[in-house]
């Protein structure tokens, strides 16, 4: 533990040049990602301390996007592990290529090789190993590893992950231990549909992401959609804020606001008029109940 908090090896030249959170804000901005001070400090410390970043918050607040932006600015590949119920080690860590192992055995048999020890050494060779995201991230240095929506995986999976993240090694019984030469930058996201075990969070820097405030959301819309006028951005952001306060099943996140504004722009809208807003509402709201509730309460009419 004590040793691990030391500085991570400067992942790339880019990472070495990031000397303060403010610098990271600028670099993220170049990737069209607007980070506030808290998030920038979180990402900065993740880079400097070599600790995973645990991002929690409602769907659509920009957790996954941050990982993508970090990968782009570090010029490192993004390796993504999408979690789901039932995710197991064979899908997350590694698996053996069964078909090729069998073929190899058959070929050896045909060639008259019967030395079990030698055959075993041959078929449990690295070339018969299929690297799944976690192993791939350890073998690819530098890289950004995104463990997306960990709350969807079973809690048993957290144990695997904790093991990998605590010393950036994976032990493969037949092959030995794989150790990352350059530990990946790790971003773990959770929508908090389930409480993630404290042991895992303790390994990480914890950051809770909120929906952006009005000014920031307008800035994000303008930054991401060059054709968007300030009027439209402000109207969409205001409408989104109203929808978030309306007790919906699934309030729109920034991702939805962006989709909505883009849909409006595609229709050539310069302003958010109620008819076009209603026609494009499907970009912002993903539940039939929500669309009905918003339309029947006239939430779009109000300017």
């Amino acid at each position: 533990m004590l040793g691990r908090t030391g500085e991570a090896k400067g992942a790339t030249g880019v990472a070495a040049g990031i000397d303060a959170p403010g610098r990271l804000v600028e670099l993220l901005d170049r990737q069209a990602y607007l980070a506030d001070e808290g998030l920038a400090t979180a990402a900065f410390l993740a880079l400097r301390m070599g600790r995973p970043l645990f991002l929690e918050g409602e769907a659509g607040v920009g957790k996954t996007e941050l990982a993508k932006a970090l990968a782009a600015l570090l010029e490192a590949p993004l390796i993504r592990l999408q979690c789901y119920e039932g995710l197991d080690a064979a899908q997350a860590l590694y698996d053996w290529d069964f078909a090729r192992q069998l073929l190899h055995l058959k070929a050896a048999e045909a060639a008259g090789i019967t030395d079990v020890g030698r055959l075993e050494g041959e078929i449990y060779d690295r070339r018969f190993l299929i690297a799944r995201p976690l192993l791939k991230a350890l073998e690819t240095g530098p890289s950004v590893l995104l463990v997306d929506e960990i709350d969807r995986a079973d809690d048993e999976f957290e144990a695997f992950l904790l093991e990998v993240l605590s010393d950036y090694t994976i032990s493969i019984p037949e092959l030995g231990t794989v150790r990352a030469a350059t530990p990946p930058v790790v971003v773990v996201t959770s929508n908090r549909t389930r409480e993630v075990h404290d042991a895992l969070k303790r390994r990480c820097l914890y950051h809770w992401l909120e929906h952006p405030d009005f000014d920031r959301e307008v800035a994000i819309l303008l930054r991401r959609l060059p054709d968007c006028t300030e009027t439209l951005a402000a109207q969409v952001a205001r409408a989104a804020a109203r929808l978030r306060g309306a007790g919906l099943v699934k309030p729109p996140g920034v991702a939805e606001t962006l989709d909505w504004a883009e849909a409006l722009l595609t229709l050539g809208a310069k302003e958010l008029d109620p008819d076009r807003a209603a026609a494009t509402l499907g970009a912002a709201l993903k539940y039939r109940e929500d669309v009905e509730s918003v339309l029947s309460r006239g939430l779009l009419r109000h300017e």
Binding site: E37, E56, Y206, H207
Partner: protein, 374 residues
């Protein structure tokens, strides 16, 4: 204290002073209920080495990122940060940290003893006392009788129905077990047979909502004891919430082995004893952030909904689409002439898999059987 105020202007050479200040800050947080343990404090000191300790914002974020573990911690963190570093050194230990309101579980006494004459004791004579007790309404028991029922509840070692897990074990039929097949082929020199594997099983999750509003007061303690028995028997597959005017998670509190200690912790955690019921809003809150996919949902309430019954109906409908089963436990269901007339009950009824009694030990044993064989 001047050392605290000095922390923000300390240079990085002053490591000892910084460590002492931050350890003190972590202690303040722990007193306020944030799990800022030693390992996290250590991470904080590590983080500060990369930041500017003379900037309050850097200290704020370094602490928040390393010491907090959930959104519930954030308001407490903000308060403590303000108190500890805000210059008001007198309030080093925030008042909120010690003035925990203590609720003792005396609910049964107030509501139950008056009606203790026992209208529903039927057959005297030969049946054993325990057997009689088993079927009596807990609200009508004397203190001693209730204590005995609670002892029996604590011994209730409930089984749990199984669901398929993602883990595998060797089996006669099922999917191809590639690893074992290869291993055997190596040993025998050829693929003699294909070995198979199938999924193991794991206990099905239960989400229990316990109504702690005024009208449920006579049953609240018994329900929490039942909840404790469930948590103790399947700690990883049981979640418990109290509902009333606020949704409060109680699973962690109920994990303690001793029922008395667990109940004390749970009752301290519940902020809304004996208030009204806004079950619809609370289930909505649960569904907004959590889910019950594939679980058995148990709602223990009399359905005296103070909020909008149609909202409650809609939430129970959503739960029924996610959950494996939705079981409603109503204490009044134990009486022959009971009809589900309360607004909440009527709104929820169409979406329930079962509506069962929850007034006596026998009723809880029956419920426990249902969870074991659902």
């Amino acid at each position: 204290m001047s050392e605290d105020a000095g922390a923000l202007t300390a240079t990085s050479e002053d490591v000892g002073g910084l460590a002492a200040t931050m350890t003190g800050f972590a202690r303040t947080l722990r007193a306020a209920g944030v799990g800022a343990d030693h390992e996290r404090t250590h991470a904080l000191l590590g983080a500060l080495r990369h930041l500017d300790v003379t900037r309050p914002a850097d200290v704020y974020w370094a602490g928040r990122l390393t010491l907090c573990a959930g959104p519930d911690d954030l308001p407490r963190y903000d308060r403590c940060f303000q108190a500890y570093f805000g210059g008001r050194t007198a309030s080093r230990r925030p008042a909120g940290a010690v003035s925990v309101t203590r609720h003792t579980l005396t609910l049964g006494d107030e509501a139950g003893d008056e009606t203790g004459e026992g209208e529903n004791e039927s057959a005297p004579g030969s049946a054993s006392r325990t057997e009689l007790l088993r079927h009596r309404d807990v609200a009508a028991l004397t203190e001693a009788e209730r204590a005995e029922v609670h002892r029996m509840l604590a011994m209730l070692s409930a089984g749990r129905a199984a669901r398929r897990s993602r883990r595998f074990e060797p089996a006669a039929r099922g999917r191809l077990d590639q690893r074992r097949t290869i291993r055997e082929a190596l040993r025998k020199g050829d693929v003699a047979r294909l070995l198979r594997r199938s999924h193991t099983e794991r206990p099905r999750g239960v989400v229990l909502f316990v109504d702690v509003s005024g009208s449920m007061a006579p049953y609240a303690e018994t329900l929490l004891r039942f909840a404790h028995a469930l948590v103790r028997s399947e700690p990883r597959a049981t979640r418990v919430y109290s509902v009333g005017t606020r949704l409060t998670p109680l699973t962690a509190e109920l994990r303690h082995r001793d029922p008395g200690t667990a109940l004390d912790a749970a009752s301290r955690a519940i902020p809304d004893w004996s208030g009204g019921t806004r079950l619809g809003e609370e289930l909505q809150e649960f569904l907004a952030r959590r889910h019950a996919r594939g679980d058995i949902v148990v709602i223990a309430s009399d359905g005296w909904e103070r909020g909008d019954p149609s909202l409650l109906g809609a939430q129970v409908a959503r739960l029924s689409r996610q959950a494996y089963r939705v079981i409603w436990v109503n204490p009044h269901k134990g009486y022959a002439d009971y009809e589900p007339l309360t607004g909440g009950m009527r709104a929820a009824l169409p979406y329930l898999d079962d509506l069962v009694a929850g007034h006596s030990l026998a009723a809880y044993e029956d419920l426990s059987e249902r969870l074991a064989h659902a």
